[in-house]
């Protein structure tokens, strides 16, 4: 099994899709010569040329909107929005156009568009380059939402996103790009809507996404020293959500913590909590705990930033709270 970084895994999926399929092309800000602000698309211009690896103006509405139009006309565009904070600029095209064309047309149109983006705190970018806005999109019927946390997952899920016939918002986390992990020799597509159990346990289920998957695994190791057995599950696809797998896990463990870097209030953890309490109500031995960022625009100074966003300690504290209830 080869080892790839998360960054290389994304690049590998992009390169393979571009190589195998003339309808695939990528576009976004600084993705060509520069190779993307996160260096994900490095080398792709040389291999595929400027017609299929397209630098764009700083123009998020047009980037997403032209992706929509090309997708409707039978292409499989992959557009990159440099920071997910900038998705807010293209919201009209995403929410009113991409998500709704199929229904508004009575099924005449499909929009096989992938929107790759990234974000996340941990490097003092301040309030406009570090948000985690995935929950905004989970509220919109017609979109699919993916948030991958490992090299293997990011490659297999991106492939499925590219070949899905619906608009998919594909979230990557900035701090995960350098992490390494084994990936299969051959790219194995990972179906959208399937959760992954990273660690089995019997006392508490932590449902985590993005960077918090890794923080939760650290917390689980600490908890184990205290005699608490923690199961860590990553839904990977937030929309559609593998409700069955999450509910089954919580029925087994009887306690649940949700964990993401996004702000807790109105975050995806709120939806997870609702789904799990409804599906596993009679099994729950404690209220579901939500871990997320505190309710503030992200401050710049490292001390403040670190205090606002959650870490393994916060997950561990939440695990302890659920166990203390019984």
């Amino acid at each position: 099994m080869p080892e790839l970084t998360y960054r290389e895994a994304v690049r590998d999926a992009l390169g393979r899709a571009l190589r195998e399929d003339d309808s695939v092309f990528i576009m976004g800000e600084d993705i060509a010569e520069m190779g993307g602000s996160m260096a994900v698309t490095q080398g792709l211009l040389d291999e595929f040329g400027p017609g299929r690896v397209r630098n764009t103006p700083i123009s998020e509405m047009a980037i997403v909107g032209s992706g929509i139009g090309a997708a409707i006309q039978g292409m499989r565009p992959i557009v990159e929005i440099m920071y997910e904070d900038f998705l807010t600029i293209s919201m009209e095209q995403l929410v009113n156009q991409a998500a709704k064309h199929r229904t508004m047309s009575g099924g005449q149109i499909k929009v096989p568009l992938t929107i790759r983006t990234q974000g996340g705190a941990g490097w003092s970018p301040g309030a406009q380059h570090a948000q985690q806005l995935e929950a905004w999109f989970v509220h919109v019927p017609g979109l699919k939402v993916v948030f991958a946390s490992t090299p293997e997952d990011v490659r297999g899920l991106l492939w499925s996103a590219i070949y899905d016939d619906n608009p998919v918002i594909f979230f990557e986390h900035r701090t995960l790009y350098p992490i390494k992990g084994d990936v299969p020799d051959e790219l194995e597509p990972i179906p959208l809507g399937k959760a992954r159990v990273h660690r089995e346990g019997t006392d508490v289920t932590v449902v985590a996404t993005g960077r918090l998957v890794h923080e939760s695994l650290k917390a689980a190791e600490e908890a184990e020293k205290e005699g608490i057995s923690v199961e860590v599950v990553d839904p990977r696809t937030l929309l559609p959500l593998d409700e069955e797998a999450l509910i089954a896990s919580v029925k087994k463990t009887t306690r649940c913590v949700t964990a993401h870097e996004a702000i807790t209030r109105g975050g995806f953890g709120s939806e997870l909590t609702a789904v799990i309490q409804h599906g596993a109500f009679d099994w729950l031995d404690a209220p579901i705990e939500r871990v997320g960022a505190k309710f503030a625009p992200l401050a710049f100074a490292p001390g403040m930033e670190q205090w606002v966003v959650p870490h393994a300690d916060d997950v561990l504290a939440a695990i302890r709270r659920t166990v203390a209830r019984s």
Binding site: F25, G51, R54, T56, P57, S59, M61, A62, V64, G65, S66, G67, I68, G69, A70, A71, I72, Q73, G74, M75, P77, E92, Q93, N96, Q97, H101, R102, T103, M104, S105, G106, G107, Q108, I109, K110, V111, P112, P141, G142, K144, D165, N166
Partner: protein, 330 residues
């Protein structure tokens, strides 16, 4: 022999009377259709709300007549004329307005979301400026595949103040995609007149093309022949790799923003005068020197077609409520 572009720019003529009579018939069909829509809406038969384009028939007919079937359009909230002119049968549009399965969007869209992909209508858009970026992308797909097709975005003067207008013209021109940005300039952003929403004189709105280095072609939007020739020229420019065109058509909305709009914001005498002097159907009838009998015969024909569309729509099938979830995902 002059090119279509030169003919268009010189205001020259050259369209046969037979073709013009075809335009007249279609424009009158659009007019009678929209009058019927107003009538049925007031009678309480049509859900939602509606915008008619009475006075703007020449832009719909002239533009779409100059396109090929495989060319695509994105329309606006004032969409009935575009849909008819691009080739969707009126009974399917009427059925859509009645919310029926037989409608051109299966009852999922309504007046502001008329789609008919088979004839190249990629959908009417209820967000002002919302359709422009998609047209850049459709044109990009044609360019990448080497197809001799153009993509056309209809929009009004109000949309030229939106971000999507500027981003779309910018990107379209940068990549020289085969797109036509068709500005139907009626001088009104809903109830707000040009003087309160445009920093340029209303007739000079085409100057915005220069900001992008884009080809500008202009025509009197009440003169269907001029619109047709201008669009032929625009299509030729776009499809031959010279880049997109801003097609500026000055037109006149001879009714309110929506059906039932009392137009308290509009000078009544000026409107009356516009109706007398700017009606594209009256102008074309005069040009063709149609006799009363000829006019009445065409009118009877299109009126019957519209009546039949209402019967078709009323006899249509109501969608099952739970089918509302049917097309959320492909």
């Amino acid at each position: 022999m002059t090119t279509v572009e030169e003919r268009a720019e010189s205001g020259g003529r050259g369209v046969s009377e037979e073709v013009l009579r075809g335009f007249f018939r279609e424009m009158l069909l659009i007019r009678r259709f929209e009058e019927k829509v107003e009538d049925r809406f007031r009678a309480g038969e049509l859900p939602g709300f509606l915008h008619v384009a009475i006075g703007q028939e020449a832009t719909a007919t002239g533009v779409c007549a100059a396109l090929q079937r495989e060319d695509v359009i994105a329309s606006t909230h004032r969409a009935h004329g575009h849909a008819i002119a691009k080739g969707t049968p009126v009974e399917r549009i009427m059925a859509e307005l009645y919310g029926k399965v037989e409608g051109c969007s299966g009852g999922y869209g309504g007046s502001m979301h008329l789609y008919d992909v088979e004839v190249g209508n990629l959908g009417a858009n209820a967000v002002v400026g919302g359709g422009l970026p998609g047209i850049v992308g459709a044109a990009l797909a044609f360019q990448m595949r080497g197809e001799q097709r153009v993509a056309v975005a209809f929009f009004g003067d109000g949309a030229t103040n939106t971000g999507t207008f500027h981003e779309s013209l910018n990107l379209g021109q940068l990549w020289k995609v085969p797109a036509i940005f068709c500005l139907e300039n009626n001088g009104w952003a809903e109830s707000t007149p040009a003087s309160q929403q445009l920093p340029l004189p209303v007739d000079e709105l085409g100057k915005r093309a220069a900001a992008f280095g884009m080809k500008l072609i202009e025509a009197d939007g009440q003169d269907v022949e001029a619109v047709y020739l201008a669009t032929l020229a625009a299509r030729e420019h776009a499809v031959t790799g010279k880049g997109p065109v801003l097609l500026h058509l000055r037109t006149h909305r001879l009714t309110g923003h929506f059906v039932g709009d009392p137009q308290v914001y509009r000078d009544k005498d000026a409107l009356k005068q516009e109706r007398e002097t700017k009606d594209p159907i009256k102008l074309l009838a005069a040009r063709l020197e149609l006799s009363d009998d000829e006019h009445a015969a065409i009118d009877a024909e299109v009126t019957a077609e519209v009546e039949a569309s209402v019967e078709f729509a009323k006899a249509g099938t109501d969608p099952a409520p739970e089918d509302a979830l049917k097309y959320v995902y492909a």
